[in-house]
Structures are given as structure tokens and as C-alpha cells.
């Protein structure tokens, strides 16, 4: 096995060289190439060491992950060097006013001119992002690739841990004979669960949406990394880190605030605290978590204040997210709606649309009390559909979870239709954009129609998974082959 691995590594090495060497003229590229190759060597060494240590399982899983990481980094590195990078970084589907790299550079340029970046309406990143890129602006490409890799690895580890728990729970349930007899088909086998973490990492790293987002240097990738770390720390049961990462994610863009409900549910489940409003332990845990969350949020906000010495960033970042003044087209529902809105209804509809994101948290938490990880998935999807400036990077994050629910496929009703619509829309976005903006032979309605369709497809996808999840749970408690009173085969309906 070691030999095969080495052969694969060598192969990878050669492809990297072949692709990169023709472009090794400039010293900057040379330096970056050296960093890539040293990272490669470190990974090789790690896998070898693991193998020698005898941890067969780790090697067996870590090697494909390493390969996947190397492959995805190579794809990104090649795209960065190609002329496509500039085209991609201008695409409205990939970058929004909140996350565009051009605006980060503009903010840094404004700082250099001695103007507060928040005095204008171009820069909407948080002060910590300025601070970060103040140091790593020359290594931006590596930073974004690293963010993607961190996200993928964090999701990988989180899903691995989650799968172990699912398996353990299933074992207990089986031993306690809680499942009906005809549900054996629904029981998940370790064999099929084995590759799920890898598939999750693959779905994230090789998703064209993620690749585009990374090549455009959209700061959405960094937000995704923070959210992935939050998921990892939550699933690992680390309350403090979970609260810290959640506050970071909230600080970056308000919407991840809704993820505190699944985090609380999961952590309580893990610590065997019953979700019961009359219990002191329940409230005590919530108070603890809230204290940690608010404390770290306070520290981060205070730190941002001291970085620039003013509160200007609050209206410029959060006011911008909530009041949607920039109507640049994107894949979301807000831009055209508020471009065409009557002025005196604007505030009302703004509230309605923004509440939409937060609105589903409580009913979903009640319904999915026992399944917080699925709740995380649902919340991420709702955020990415209903947020004010969505990009494809947000979609990529919740799509990475789809392999985790691969056991639901037998209950999905219209996955074929939805995936066709999603693919067609993704292809039509640039076409209709070109027709509207450059050719002038179409108007804004064409692009708007595609965003509508895209969002309908996303909604159908999410609700389909939700339906399948609920249905499987129903079958697990009532049996798979249900019979009517008269003994004939029954069909399940929602009532």
C-alpha cells in the first residue's frame, strides 16, 4: 500500500511540476511553488509516519484526503495563474459587495491614503479582515486555498465524529430493540458510512462553486472556514471553542447567529442535559453558553473598535447587511425586489425578508430537537437562500453536507428535477448576464427569472431533504412497510 501511495504522490508531484514549471518565471511564483512542495512533503511524511505507527485506519482515510487536498489545491493554483481568474473575480454570482476581493484591496488602499475605509460605501468587511489582510495581502491566494482546505478538513473530521455517534446510537437502539423488524433496510451499515467523510470533503473541495469562490478570492471562503470550525468544535463537544467560533461567524456576517440553536441542542445532548424548560441544568447550560458567546463577541467587537478607533464599521458592515442599500445583481432574492420596490413599502418588506432568515430557527429546533446536525444543515441552507447578499460560496457550504444524508435518497421525491434545474440555472447565469449587460439584447428580467428559478430549486432541494429525513424517522418508529386497516399496502401522506 505504501508503494501505491508513493507512486500516487509522485504522480501528483509530476503533474504539479508540469503545470507549474512553465509559469515559474517570476520569483513570487517560485516562492509559492516552494511552499506547495514543502507542504506536500510534510503531508507525505505525516501519512508515512501514521502508517509506520500502525494506525491503519488513519492512513487508509488520510491518504485519500491528502490526495484530494493536493488535487484541489492544484486546480486552484492552476486557475489562479490562468486568465480566467480575472473574469471569475468579476462575476456577480461569485462575489457580492460584501465579499469581493476588489473591495478588500480598495479598503487597504483607502487605509494607505489615510482615509477610513468605512467612510465610503465600497468597503464592507469587518476590521479583523482588514487586519488579517494587512499582513497576508501578498499571500492572499494561499490564504484562500488554506481556508478552503481548513473548511474541508474540519467538515471531514466533524462528519467522521458524527458518523461514529450515529453508528453508536444505532447500535444501542438495535440492542434495545427499538426499531421495527421491517426496518432493517433502513439501518445504516458501517461500510456505506465509511466513505462519507471523504465524500463531504470532496463535495466541498471539488465543488465548482467553491473553486470559483476561491479563485475569485471571495471572503466567503473565510466565513465558511469559521463556520466549519464552529461545526467541528461543536461536534467534538468543546463548548468554549464552539462559542468562540460562533461569535466569530456572527461577527463576520450576522446570519450564523441562528446556528446557536443547533449548537446548544447538540452540546446538551452530548452532555445528557434534557431539553426541558423546567430544569435548572438546562437554563444553567444556556446561561453558560450565552456567557461564553457574548463574552467572546464582546472581546472581538472591542478589538475591532481598538483596531480602527471608531464604531464606523458597525453601520458600514451590519447596517449594510440588514438595510440592503447596494442593489448589485446577485443570485439572491433581494436585489431586484428592492430595486422595483415602492419606496414607502421598502422598510416593511425589508423587515419581512430579513426576518425570514431568523424566523425558521425556533420551529425547526422544535421539530429537529433530536437531530441537531441536520438542523445545522437546514439552517445553513435557509441562510444561504434568504440572506441579503448570497454567493455561490454559501451554497457550496451546505451542499457539502449532502453526502451525509445519502441514506435519505430512497425517500427523495424530485431530486432529479431539482438537480437539473440547479445545473441549468448555473449555466444560464453567465449567459443571461452577458445578454443583459454586454450584448444588450436582453433585459434585467431575464437574469431575474433565473435567480428566481435557482432559488425555487434550492428551496425544493432543502424541503425535499427535510421531507425525506422526517419520513425516515417516521419509518424507523412505525415500520417501513405500513399496512392499512384492511391489510393492503398503505401510502404515507402529510396531514
Amino acid at each position: 500500500f505504501n508503494k501505491t501511495l508513493k507512486l500516487l504522490m509522485l504522480n501528483q508531484w509530476l503533474t504539479v511540476r508540469c503545470v507549474l514549471i512553465p509559469r515559474l518565471k517570476s520569483p513570487g511564483v517560485k516562492r509559492r511553488f516552494r511552499i506547495y512542495s514543502s507542504a506536500l512533503l510534510v503531508l507525505q511524511w505525516l501519512t508515512n509516519k501514521d502508517y509506520k505507527g500502525g494506525e491503519r485506519f488513519l492512513v487508509k482515510m488520510a491518504a485519500p484526503l491528502t490526495l484530494l487536498v493536493i488535487l484541489s489545491v492544484t486546480i486552484r493554483a492552476v486557475l489562479y495563474r490562468s486568465s480566467l481568474a480575472e473574469v471569475i473575480s468579476e462575476r456577480v454570482e461569485v462575489v457580492s459587495p460584501l465579499t469581493a476581493w476588489k473591495r478588500v484591496v480598495e479598503g487597504l488602499a483607502l487605509l494607505d491614503l489615510g482615509v477610513s475605509p468605512y467612510s465610503g460605501d465600497v468597503f464592507h468587511e469587518t476590521p479583523l479582515i482588514i487586519y488579517l489582510f494587512h499582513f497576508v495581502v501578498d499571500y492572499a491566494e494561499i490564504t484562500f486555498m488554506l481556508a478552503d482546505v481548513i473548511t474541508a478538513v474540519a467538515l471531514y473530521m466533524a462528519v467522521m465524529d458524527y458518523n461514529k455517534q450515529v453508528f453508536r446510537k444505532q447500535k444501542y437502539a438495535l440492542e434495545a430493540d427499538r426499531y421495527p423488524l421491517d426496518c432493517l433496510e433502513l439501518i445504516r451499515s458501517p461500510k456505506e458510512m465509511y466513505y462519507i467523510p471523504l465524500k463531504v470533503a470532496m463535495f466541498y473541495l471539488l465543488n465548482p462553486f467553491t473553486i470559483l469562490s476561491c479563485v475569485a478570492k471571495s471572503t466567503c471562503g473565510l466565513n465558511n472556514a469559521v463556520i466549519a470550525l464552529f461545526i467541528l468544535t461543536t461536534i467534538k463537544g468543546n463548548v468554549l471553542l464552539s462559542a468562540i467560533f460562533l461569535s466569530l461567524a456572527t461577527y463576520q456576517s450576522i446570519y450564523p447567529l441562528t446556528l446557536c440553536a443547533p449548537a446548544l441542542l447538540y452540546l446538551m445532548q452530548r452532555q445528557f442535559i434534557p431539553v426541558n424548560f423546567r430544569r435548572v441544568s438546562f437554563w444553567w447550560f444556556i446561561a453558560q453558553y450565552a456567557f461564553m458567546y457574548l463574552g467572546s463577541l464582546f472581546v472581538i467587537v472591542g478589538l475591532s473598535f481598538f483596531l480602527l478607533g471608531s464604531w464606523d464599521y458597525v453601520p458600514s458592515v451590519y447596517g449594510f447587511i440588514l438595510s440592503v442599500p447596494d442593489l448589485t445583481p446577485n443570485i439572491g432574492l433581494f436585489w431586484y425586489f428592492f430595486a422595483e420596490m415602492f419606496e414607502h413599502f421598502r422598510l416593511f418588506f425589508l423587515c419581512v425578508f430579513q426576518i425570514n432568515v431568523f424566523f425558521y430557527t425556533i420551529p425547526l429546533s422544535i421539530k429537529l430537537k433530536e437531530h441537531p446536525v441536520f438542523l445545522i444543515f437546514m439552517q445553513l441552507a435557509v441562510i444561504s437562500i434568504f440572506k441579503s447578499y448570497p454567493t455561490v460560496g454559501d451554497i457550496a457550504l451546505y451542499m457539502a453536507f449532502l453526502p451525509v444524508w445519502s441514506h435519505l435518497h430512497r425517500f427523495l421525491r424530485n431530486i432529479f428535477l431539482v438537480s437539473c434545474v440547479l445545473l441549468a440555472c448555473s449555466a444560464l447565469f453567465p449567459v443571461l448576464w452577458h445578454l443583459w449587460i454586454y450584448a444588450g439584447s436582453a433585459n434585467s428580467n431575464f437574469y431575474y427569472a433565473i435567480t428566481l428559478l435557482f432559488n425555487v430549486a434550492q428551496i425544493l432541494l432543502v424541503s425535499d431533504y427535510f421531507y425525506a429525513f422526517l419520513r425516515r424517522e417516521h419509518h424507523l418508529s412505525y415500520g417501513l412497510y405500513l399496512k392499512r386497516k384492511d391489510g393492503s399496502e398503505a401510502t404515507l401522506v402529510l396531514k
Binding site: G120, M341, L494
Partner: protein, 650 residues
């Protein structure tokens, strides 16, 4: 009524003496006959001392003389005018109670035949009044100064006010530098007194009042097109306060100037359009031209050399360029009648001086064009760094009008050759790029000086809906990066404030400097578009202000009597002169939504949100149940019958 009350015998006496005094202290003059070419041999001579001791006069021309007798017809006219007013003045006014109006009115017209065959006419009307609007007591006795503007000055604590309305674009490369530059559309810049606390509020009120006075859309000036330039607009009058918090600058490049703006402007003149040069201002001819610009400048000026007393100066200027092919049907022959469909018969009786200057610098021997009737008076003035020679017609002298009692100047070109001196500083601007997503503004600045480099201040005020990216700013001259030594950049705020970019760039000699900056076009709300959205949006001209090295020494004494056209920009040093150049305004297209379907969009988007809400609500509130097929209709009826019969149902 104030003017009527003021005009009485005492006032008349003072006016007469004042006008005599002013005429005596006239511009650079000499009684010697002279040839203007002699001045070229001797460029070091300051403008004031024109002591030409050249060979005997070649022609029977006489340099403009300061003659006391000139005042005689002036007196007559004034007397006639004031006689008329006396009759209507109320008899009860006590002469001693009326403040002595130390005011003065001058009018002049400069005509410059251009080599392209076009003709440039520049009117200037200057009213100077020694008063103080800012004192506690209200100024209520107006004579020559228009009361509407006086009240504006005192109410809004204005220190300086410059407003211009322009139709058409001044073509610097064809026509040379104008005497008063102005951008297409409306431009307004105001310095407020430092006693003003709420400058923005005062500015808002002032623009609304001026909008009424000039019948213009100045009320469209709001915070989205107002900027506070830090260096480009310095006060032109006296006063060393240069805190730009009290300065407001705005342009409306879309403003269309027409008759309704000219009429109120003419009404500010002491003689209206009844007498003097203003009779030429007929709107049907003025607006049938390539370029039309009218302006009002109010500023405090020094009364004398020591600057002990200050007075308020109101300068009304009107510049117009008539097109060779449009107005003259291609014939290179111009007359006052052809230009304005009027001839002159008298000066404004209230004016202390009323002159017509014809620029004959390029025509010393009369080989290019001939001017008739010929005038013996010649004058020299240093204007825009160049010594120019002018034929002067003094309208206060009856002899000017000849026997027909009417002056119709005729300029007939003899040859169409000859080349104009290229202006030293010239600028142009355009938008590059295609599509409606991004674009790039290119500004080209030409320094045509063969060996001197000089710095220029570039001011760009770009509306917020073109989002500038300052990190893409490049300044290159001669293929090399030319780093500006000073950059003042104020980013825009959406729907609140425009971009302001000011920078100091050194232009190398004989070079083109290109400034580029990229922008992104915003999608606006459907109500924010103009009624013709696909026409595009105007972006105001860039302003380039510079001290250009001068060929001849400039006159730094601002209080000395000079022709009005040469004394607008105060000159601080002799070796250079101030020039302001405006570039073309830009017309930029923005992406537009479909204006016809707000209802459809609201319905469709809400439907999608409702689909999301509905499907989630469905799954959240309902639970799975086994479907029990409902019995058929026949069975149900049978069951009802069986129930009535008391038999168990099927």
C-alpha cells in the same frame, strides 16, 4: 424703489466726480503712437509702463488716451438719465438722510475673431459698491447693485458666490482659452463667512433661493452632488480664510440653459436690456450659437492699493461663440447686426465706462481681417499670460457712433490662413470599456509648453452610482508612472455623497499625462432613474486648476484699473498666471431594471418566498399518516340509507 430714492442731486454730483476719477486712472495707456510689435522686443517691461519710444507712428492710430473731456458726454448721459429718474423720485426724501452710494458700473464687450472663422464675444458688466452687507444694520438703499442679490449676500452670510450657466462645450484647441472658463451645465461655488454655523443648511437654502432668482434647476443641488474641494477653489476676492469647511461646490451637468435663465440675468443689470451693451443680448440669437455661457460672480474686493476699504463687486459675464457655418452661412464676415441682430446706439447712461474691445493681436497690419469703422484708439492688456492688442470703441463718446448715430462693427476676413497659438494647458476626458458592469475614466492633460513643467490640481467629483476604485488609479506621463504629490480622496456614500478626488500632478514639458481610474456601475432603485434612463447619466466636468508659466510678466496689482476681462483671476506672482480648464462632462450608461413591472416583481418574488415558507410550514406542522382512501360516493349514500334504516353500515 431704492434706486429711485437714491438718485438725487447729491448722488449725481458724486457719481460724476467718481466717474471722472476712474476714467483718469485708466488702464495702461500712452499718448505716444506705437506699434505693438515693439513690445515683443521688450518683453520684460511690466504692463503698466508702456513707454514705447518707437519709430514714428506707422499708422494713424492713437493709443487709448485718458481724456477728461470724455467725461463730458458721460455727464450728459448721466444727467439725462438721472433727470428722468428725478421726476419719478418721491419729493419728500431729504438729501442728507440718504447714505452716499459709492457705487460704480462698468460695461465692456470683447470680440475676438477666431481663426476657425467663428467669433467669440465676451460681455462683462461690473458693479462695485462700497458697502458692508455683514454689518448689523440692514442695507436697504440699493442703486446700481441688484437688491435681490444683496439680500442673498446678507441673509446667507455669503463671502463669495460664483454661478455659471453654460450651454455647449468650450473647444480649447480650436478657440484658445476663454476669459472666464465654465463647465457645461450649471456650476455654483460659494464661500460662506466663517460666522456661519450650519453650512450645509445654509447652502441648501441658498441653492433654493438662487434657483428662484435665476429660474434654474439649482434646487437639484443636494448632498449627492455637493463637494468641499480642499485646494482647487480658492477665494478670488480678498480675505485669507481658506478653511474649506466654508466652501461648497456643485455642478449640474444636465442643466439646459435657455431664455428663462437669460431674462432674470439681464434684469440684474442697472440698465436692464434697455440701453448700453445689453441691448445686444437678444435670446433668439444668443442661443443660436455654438457656445453660450452666462455667469454671476460676487466677491469682496479692495477699493484701493492699501486695501483700507473693501467693497463688493458683482461681475456679470456672458460669453458666446457664434459658428461660422451656422450663424454666418459660411461667409467669413461678421458684424454686430449679424451676430446679435441689433446695433449699438448708446452706452448705458449709468455706466462710468462702456467700451468695446476687438482683439487685433494676430492682425497688426490688417492683413488677416479688416475692422470697420476704424478706430484710432488702441489698448494693450496682459491676459492669460500673453500681451494682446485691442482696438477700443468708447461708447460714452458720441463720435463713436458716427453720423448715423448707430454703431455696427464689421469684421471682414481677408484670408483664412494663419494659425492660433496653441493653449499651453488643455485637457480631455472619456470613458473606456464596454458593457454595463464596469468602466474606466481616462483624463488626458496636455502640457504644450516646450520646456517648462508645471503642477496642476485635478478635481474630479463623480456621483456615487459610479463606484470608483481608488486602488486602480494610475497617473502616467510619457509612459512613466507619475506619482501625484498630493491626493485628497473622499469616498462616496450611497445616496448621500459623491466621490471627491483631488490631486496635484506635475506635468512634464511637452507631454500628455493620463489619469485613469476604474469604476463599477451600480443598479439603482427604479425611482432613482431619470425619465430617460437609457440616455445615460451625466458626470460633471473635471476641473483642472493651474498656475501656468507666463510669457510676459503678469500684473499683480489687482486694484489698478484694467480692462475687466483681464482682471478676473487675481495674480499673485508675475511669472505665471492662473488658468482653470474644464473637461467634457461624461455620459455614462447604467444598467436598468424593467420599469414596467414592479408589481410583477413583487408578486413573483413573494411567491418564491411563499413557496419556501409553505413547504417548510407544511413539513413543520403536519405529521405522517397512513392514507385511508375515502369511500366512494355510492357507498357513502348507501351507508346513509343503511344508517336511517338502522342497519350497520357496509
Amino acid at each position: 424703489m431704492a434706486a429711485h430714492r437714491c438718485s438725487n442731486c447729491a448722488a449725481l454730483l458724486i457719481l460724476c466726480s467718481l466717474s471722472v476719477f476712474i476714467v483718469v486712472d485708466s488702464q495702461e495707456t500712452t499718448l505716444n503712437g506705437g506699434h505693438h510689435a515693439t513690445t515683443v522686443h521688450n518683453p520684460q517691461t511690466t504692463t503698466g509702463t508702456a513707454e514705447q519710444t518707437a519709430e514714428p507712428a506707422v499708422e494713424e492710430r492713437r493709443w487709448e488716451a485718458t481724456a477728461v473731456e470724455e467725461a463730458t458726454p458721460d455727464d450728459d448721459d448721466d444727467a439725462a438719465a438721472s433727470d428722468k429718474q428725478d421726476t419719478s423720485a418721491p419729493e419728500t426724501v431729504d438729501p442728507s438722510s440718504v447714505p452716499q452710494p459709492k457705487d460704480d458700473f462698468q460695461e465692456e464687450l470683447v470680440i475676438r475673431p477666431l481663426h476657425s472663422g467663428d467669433i467669440y464675444a465676451s460681455f462683462q458688466f461690473r458693479t462695485v459698491w462700497e458697502t458692508d452687507f455683514m454689518r448689523g444694520n440692514k442695507v436697504s438703499h440699493y442703486r446700481l447693485f441688484p437688491k435681490s442679490l444683496g439680500q442673498v449676500i446678507s441673509k446667507f452670510s455669503v463671502r463669495e458666490l460664483h454661478i455659471s450657466f453654460t450651454q455647449g462645450y468650450w473647444r480649447t484647441m480650436q478657440w484658445g482659452q476663454p476669459f472666464q472658463p465654465s463647465p457645461p451645465g450649471a456650476e455654483l461655488w460659494v464661500w460662506f463667512q466663517d460666522s456661519v454655523t450650519d453650512v450645509d443648511g445654509t447652502w441648501k437654502e441658498l441653492t433654493n433661493v438662487l434657483s428662484g432668482i435665476f429660474c434654474a434647476s439649482l434646487n437639484f443641488i443636494d448632498s449627492t452632488n455637493t463637494v468641499q474641494p480642499s485646494a482647487s477653489f480658492k477665494p478670488l476676492g480678498i480675505g485669507n480664510e481658506t478653511d474649506h469647511r466654508f466652501l461648497r461646490y456643485a455642478t449640474l451637468p444636465r442643466e439646459i440653459v435657455c431664455t428663462e435663465n437669460l431674462t432674470p440675468w439681464k434684469k440684474l443689470l442697472p440698465c436692464g436690456s434697455k440701453a448700453g451693451l445689453a441691448v445686444l443680448l437678444k435670446s433668439e440669437k444668443l442661443f443660436h450659437s455654438s457656445f453660450h455661457s452666462q455667469a454671476v460672480h460676487i466677491r469682496p474686493v479692495c477699493q484701493d492699493w492699501q486695501c483700507k476699504t473693501t467693497s463688493w463687486e458683482l461681475r456679470q459675464t456672458l460669453n458666446v461663440v457664434f459658428d461660422l457655418h451656422n450663424s454666418a452661412q459660411g461667409k467669413r464676415e461678421w458684424s454686430l447686426f449679424k451676430m446679435f441682430s441689433r446695433t449699438l446706439t448708446e452706452a448705458c447712461p449709468l455706466a462710468s465706462s462702456s467700451k468695446i474691445y476687438i482683439d487685433i493681436t494676430d492682425n497688426p497690419q490688417g492683413e488677416q481681417f479688416e475692422v470697420s469703422p476704424a478706430t484710432p484708439l488702441l489698448s494693450q492688456a496682459v491676459v492669460l499670460g500673453d500681451r494682446r492688442t485691442f482696438s477700443v470703441y468708447d461708447l460714452t463718446q458720441q463720435i463713436t457712433f458716427g453720423t448715423v448715430r448707430s454703431l455696427n462693427l464689421l469684421i471682414r476676413w481677408k484670408s483664412s490662413e494663419g494659425d492660433m497659438l496653441r493653449p499651453l494647458l488643455h485637457a480631455e476626458r472619456y470613458v473606456a470599456g464596454y458593457g454595463l458592469q464596469t468602466g474606466e475614466i481616462h483624463t488626458l492633460m496636455y502640457n504644450n509648453h516646450p520646456y517648462r513643467s508645471f503642477p496642476v490640481l485635478l478635481l474630479d467629483s463623480v456621483p456615487w452610482y459610479l463606484r470608483l476604485y481608488i486602488h486602480t488609479l494610475t497617473v502616467t506621463s510619457k509612459g512613466k508612472d507619475n506619482k501625484p504629490s498630493y491626493i485628497h480622496y473622499q469616498p462616496s456614500k450611497d445616496r448621500l455623497r459623491p466621490h471627491l478626488l483631488e490631486m496635484l500632478v506635475q506635468l512634464p514639458p511637452n507631454s500628455v499625462t493620463e489619469v485613469t481610474v476604474q469604476f463599477e456601475r451600480a443598479l439603482l432603485k427604479w425611482t432613482e432613474y431619470t425619465p430617460d434612463p437609457n440616455h445615460g447619466f451625466y458626470v460633471g466636468s473635471s476641473v483642472i486648476s493651474s498656475l501656468v508659466p507666463s510669457i510676459v510678466a503678469m500684473d499683480t496689482n489687482s486694484t489698478r484699473e484694467r480692462p475687466l476681462f483681464s482682471s478676473f483671476f487675481p495674480c499673485k506672482e508675475e511669472s505665471s498666471y492662473f488658468v482653470r480648464v474644464y473637461t467634457e462632462p461624461l455620459l455614462v450608461n447604467l444598467p436598468t431594471p424593467d420599469f414596467s413591472m414592479p408589481y410583477n416583481v413583487i408578486c413573483l418574488t413573494c411567491t418564491v418566498v411563499a413557496v419556501g415558507y409553505g413547504s417548510l410550514y407544511n413539513l413543520l406542522t403536519r405529521s405522517f399518516q397512513i392514507e385511508e382512501p375515502s369511500p366512494g360516493l355510492a357507498k357513502r349514500i348507501a351507508n346513509i340509507i343503511r344508517k336511517m334504516r338502522g342497519v350497520p353500515p357496509l
